[in-house]
């Protein structure tokens, strides 16, 4: 009964509201967010050992195939773009500013006018006042600002609306001397000012999953068994 009611509510929700107020995320992550997606105009900090993959997965969810949304990444000179494409990010809609130099804040503010999702790596020594101004700008323009924390120096100096923590998970597929990295199970924990009411605060996802995309752990396929090549029978020669 409750499920049917929820479905009816979901149907009755005005489409324009959903489209304009939040950005959808990858299906695997939808259950984690309080609004079922990324609230436009919010600051969502991503950190932890799998932070880059997780932020790329967020971008892939925001820009599904055929959408007219744009994303930009500021200050990632070594972003793995092949990985981004494998996760489903349309590379023609992801603008990269690899080296903003001393004009980081100006560049981010200018990009906030044009894109929907902004992945940034805060430079060391970012002032709290700059961060506050950029957050206000993002709120005004309806941009989701995603500071990606890699190490202690690239911390967002203000407290973000949401904080995603992706612990470096468990890799599958690599043995000792054989196999190769195939998929990884990571645990994503959510915290922040906008407390999710009654929803799971953390969940396990596969990132990358079998086809490169993130999937929820419940849907994880059984790992392929390792089948060594059958030893060839020896035949007497000569």
């Amino acid at each position: 009964m409750k499920g049917a009611l929820e479905a009816a509510v979901a149907k009755g929700r005005p489409v324009a509201m959903a489209g304009t107020r939040r950005l959808e995320v990858h299906g695997a992550l939808g259950g984690l967010f309080p609004a079922g997606g990324l609230q436009r105009g919010s600051v969502v900090e991503v950190g932890g050992g799998a932070a880059v993959s997780l932020s790329l997965a967020l971008a892939a969810g925001v820009m599904p195939a055929g959408s007219s949304r744009w994303a930009a990444a500021v200050g990632f000179p070594s972003l793995g773009l092949v990985a981004a494409a494998q996760l489903g990010v349309p590379l023609d809609r992801l603008a990269l500013v690899p080296a903003p130099g001393g004009r980081w804040a100006e560049v981010v503010a200018a990009l906030a006018d044009g894109v929907d999702l902004l992945l940034v790596r805060p430079p060391a020594g970012l002032r709290a006042s700059d961060a506050r101004r950029l957050a206000a700008r993002a709120r005004e323009r309806g941009v989701v600002l995603v500071p990606v924390r890699q190490g202690a120096s690239s911390r967002w100096p203000e407290s973000p609306d949401l904080r995603l923590e992706a612990a470096p998970g468990e890799w599958m597929g690599l043995g000792t001397g054989h196999g190769c990295l195939r998929r990884r199970r990571i645990e994503v924990a959510l915290s922040g000012r906008r407390e999710p009411g009654g929803r799971p605060r953390s969940m396990e996802i596969w990132l990358p999953g079998p086809a490169g995309v993130a999937v929820v752990s419940a849907e994880a396929p059984a790992p392929e068994p390792f089948t060594p090549a059958p030893p060839e029978a020896l035949t007497a020669v000569g």
Partner: protein, 528 residues
């Protein structure tokens, strides 16, 4: 139609700036196409192979062919002649022709005009050697210029109505490029001179040699192939504005830029052109200058141009930093660098470009104004074995398609469209690393015995890796590894690379792709 041909023998060498007393040749497809007088004195002729030319003159200097350089160097000569006579046609770099009717009467006859043009071209070229021929029709005039070169005469004028008689003793192989086979055939038929060819009945020539034979016969009789086509002088594609007093406020400069953009686009529109690349140049009183090229795959409008000028100046004047100018702006110039016929813009069926796309494009151009055109890029994936090699970064606004690759096209023709993407044996399978380091992040890989792990010539590890230190950090235990996957690229070539790659999984969950090249481990990517 009376015609004048000015011809500079061996122009490619003059364009390359080689004096006539140095033995030098220009090669195309391994054949000599031009040689200096010094080289000719050693017996070098057109059509010789490089090796034959070097055998005749071992000290000969070989210059690469560069049509663009030849044409650029010829341009001042054309401009100088254009200042004397209108309607100049450029045949090739090193040869121009013009109709002499008006100019001859003005300058006092064909001979006087020819002398004048010869002197003008010599002055523009910076050395003597121009040959001028005048005759009825371009073919006669061209032959007269070349005959002058053989007879060491600067000017040869064939009188009015004397073309046929003058041409009669010339051999048939001077019909020129395109007629070599025909000339060869005619010689074997015993027709050795243009006079003999001209006396043949037209129907017989047409019946046996077709349209080409008929044209050759017309030329031999001193008639013309086609009239001279005048070159249209390039329209003024550059709009400068001198600013007096100098401007030091962005708004004022942007206002000037708007009127310049209007003027430039008006000029282009009159020619039926649209600009796809525009250079905006600003100069200050102290001689500092800032040029930035703006490209747009559609056509740039006046408003968009003015906006870009403003962003560019904003990035220059607006912020105090090392590169900002020390004085006001005195000159602003807009130049259309690339134009194409303005055939309008076809919008998509469902309304074309979305509003969000335009907003994004404006934001990216704004950042390009701050950081330069390479500041904003998008990635295009291509072929390659390493993860960094598969990515090509294209500045925003440039064409994302790769330049046409003749090899790929040929492959497609040979094997069908499915064979477009070649396989890349040696690529690491599985998901790609989320962080790809360009180069320079070193790693230390140690075996269980504490000695560095090496890869031997057969692509085998000296021992299993047991601990790894990334970029001089702490040593971490290896909990899983695979490899090495050796790659040998372009081993037949000096630019070849040999490397081996290794995936390692560390105890704290970090996973890395390491690469060993020239006895050194580096981190290619991190799966984070």
């Amino acid at each position: 139609m009376r015609c004048l041909v000015a011809w500079f023998p061996d122009w490619p060498l003059v364009a390359a700036g080689i004096p006539p007393d140095v033995a030098a040749v220009v090669l195309h497809a391994n054949r000599v196409v031009a040689a200096t007088p010094a080289a000719r004195a050693e017996g070098i002729r057109e059509g010789l192979r490089r090796r034959e030319a070097q055998a005749r003159c071992p000290a000969v200097r070989v210059v690469e062919e560069d049509r663009g350089r030849d044409a650029r160097a010829w341009e001042p000569a054309v401009a100088a002649v254009e200042s004397l006579a209108p309607a100049v046609e450029v045949a090739t770099a090193g040869e121009l022709l013009l109709g002499t009717r008006g100019p001859s009467r003005y300058f006092g006859g064909d001979a006087a005009l020819a002398e004048l043009i010869c002197r003008t071209v010599d002055e523009a070229a910076g050395q003597e050697g121009c040959r001028v021929g005048v005759g009825d029709g371009r073919f006669t005039a061209g032959l007269a210029a070349r005959a002058g070169a053989r007879a060491a005469q600067r000017v040869v004028v064939v009188g009015r109505g004397e073309s046929r008689r003058w041409l009669a003793p010339q051999p048939v192989n001077c019909l020129g490029p395109g007629y070599e086979d025909l000339a060869d055939l005619l010689v074997r038929f015993g027709i050795r001179t243009l006079g003999e060819l001209g006396e043949l009945p037209a129907s017989a020539v047409l019946g046996r040699f077709g349209a080409m034979g008929d044209t050759a016969r017309r030329l031999a009789r001193g008639l013309d192939e086609r009239p001279v086509v005048a070159r249209t002088p390039p329209p003024g594609m550059s709009v400068p504005a001198e600013l007096d007093p100098p401007l030091d406020r962005v708004e004022a400069a942007a206002f000037v830029a708007k009127s310049l953009a209007d003027e430039l686009l008006y000029r282009l529109e009159r020619e039926g052109l649209a600009a796809t690349m525009v250079a905006i140049e600003a100069q200050t009183e102290h001689g500092e200058s800032l040029v930035r090229h703006w490209r747009h795959d559609g056509a740039l409008t006046a408003a968009a141009l003015a906006e870009r000028a403003r962003w560019q100046l904003d990035g220059w004047i607006g912020v105090e930093r090392g590169g900002s100018p020390t004085a006001g702006i005195t000159l602003l110039r807009l130049t259309a660098e690339e134009v194409r016929p303005d055939d309008g813009k076809q919008l998509g069926f469902w309304g074309g470009v979305a509003e969000s796309d335009e907003q994004a494009a404006r934001a990216f151009a704004r950042v390009q104004g701050l950081l330069g055109p390479d500041g904003v890029v998008t990635a295009v994936l291509g072929g390659g074995r390493g993860f960094a090699e598969q990515v090509r970064l294209v500045p925003w606004g440039d064409c994302r398609e790769p330049p046409p690759d003749t090899d790929a096209r040929r492959r497609r023709v040979l094997r069908g469209p499915s064979a477009e993407a070649p396989p890349w044996p040696g690529r690491v399978g599985g998901p790609a690393p989320a962080v790809v380091f360009g180069s320079g992040t070193e790693a230390e890989v140690l075996g269980p015995d504490g000695l560095p792990v090496e890869v031997d010539g057969r692509g085998l590890l000296s021992s299993a890796p047991s601990s790894v230190a990334i970029a001089g950090g702490a040593r971490r235990q290896v909990s899983g590894w695979a490899g090495p996957w050796p790659i040998e690229e372009r081993w037949w070539d000096r630019g070849g690379r040999r490397r081996a790659r290794l995936q390692v999984l560390l105890e704290d969950g970090g996973a890395y792709l390491l690469s060993r090249e020239r006895g050194c481990w580096t981190v290619e990517g991190s799966y984070c």
